[in-house]
């Protein structure tokens, strides 16, 4: 997820800062741009919350039972859809048979995820 990348890149940036006074000259443009991007678009602020989202029970059960792929999880985590329709438009595969019983189940998941964000 974007927020995890932000954590990794930030740490690396700090390390570079310790080594030299001008860390930006050491890094590539790709690194710089990516860092700006993930900082702008990361939804969760600290590593605790990220962990909570990753370990969200229905993700875990869905991951094990129905193989909700990691990238599907990441898209949901990155974009934080608010409605079921939105979520299905972003990740069409979540409505594949057997993943969730019905729309209510998806809605519950989205609601729980937004709660995690609220209480971080």
């Amino acid at each position: 997820m974007n927020c995890e990348v932000a954590l990794i890149l930030d740490k690396k940036y700090e390390q570079l800062q310790n080594i030299s006074d001008d860390p930006l000259s050491q890094t590539s443009q790709v690194f710089e741009k990516s860092l700006q991007y993930v900082k702008r678009f990361s939804r969760y602020k600290n590593s605790e919350t990220v962990k909570q989202v990753r370990e969200y029970p229905s993700f875990q059960t869905v991951l094990s039972r129905n193989r909700l792929a990691e990238f599907e999880l990441c898209v949901l985590g990155n974009l934080c859809p608010e409605t079921v329709e939105e979520a299905i438009a972003m990740v069409p595969t979540i409505k594949t048979k057997g993943r969730f019983e019905d729309d209510d189940a998806i809605e519950k998941m989205l609601h729980d995820l937004s709660l995690i964000k609220k209480f971080e």
Binding site: N2, I8, S28, V30, F31, K33, S34, V75, M90
Partner: protein, 187 residues
């Protein structure tokens, strides 16, 4: 989307570095060589996070260079067709607009911008809906769907994208109004 993955690379090292700090030298050369590069298969290599394993070197005849197979972990960014992501608008003109998602440049043609959005020229060119509630201009945040990816000779990925489907699009609108210059982006 960003990925964390293990890659392998054969590193050539000049004989002058053979000595006490060979491993360190190899690591810094790896970082210098691969960070910022782009390949069609893995996309952009953003950062090397860890060097897992440095294999046995093989001396090349004639040159004296030694080739080491190196296994390393890195963060890569690769856009996929059909993926929905967020981007920052960098340039708006009558053909459409350009946006940036990390290292990737994205072009959205005006054919793929909804019909009810009109191009407005002027100091700050933008696309505006008829009721003026939504504006796409420089520094706006948009949510879009990638419809094609191209890696060109300059090793910059260009993605052609359409604004994400109607349902997401309404949401795009909601976010769009938050211009970074004017107000803090809600997170």
């Amino acid at each position: 989307m960003f990925f964390h993955m293990v890659l392998e690379r054969n590193m050539q090292l000049h004989p002058r570095y053979f000595g006490p700090h060979l491993q360190e030298k190899l690591k810094s050369k790896l970082v210098k060589d691969v960070e910022g590069t782009c390949s069609g298969k893995h996309g952009f290599v953003v950062a090397v996070t860890k060097v897992d394993n440095i294999g046995k070197g093989l001396i090349r005849e004639g040159t004296g260079f030694v080739t080491f197979p190196v296994k390393y972990q890195c963060v890569v960014f690769r856009p996929f067709r059909g993926e929905i992501l967020e981007a920052v608008v960098t340039l708006v003109n009558k053909m459409g607009f350009f946006a940036e998602a990390g290292p990737v440049n994205i072009f959205v043609s005006n054919h793929l911008i909804p019909d009810d959005m009109e191009f407005q020229s002027g100091d700050a060119p933008n696309y505006t809906t008829s009721d003026g509630s939504v504006k796409i201009q420089k520094d706006s945040e948009v949510r879009l769907k990638i419809i094609g990816v191209r890696v060109d000779a300059a090793e910059i990925v260009n993605s052609d994208a359409g604004l994400a489907g109607k349902k997401c699009f309404d949401h795009t609108f909601a976010r769009n109004e938050h211009n970074l210059d004017n107000c803090p982006v809600e997170k």
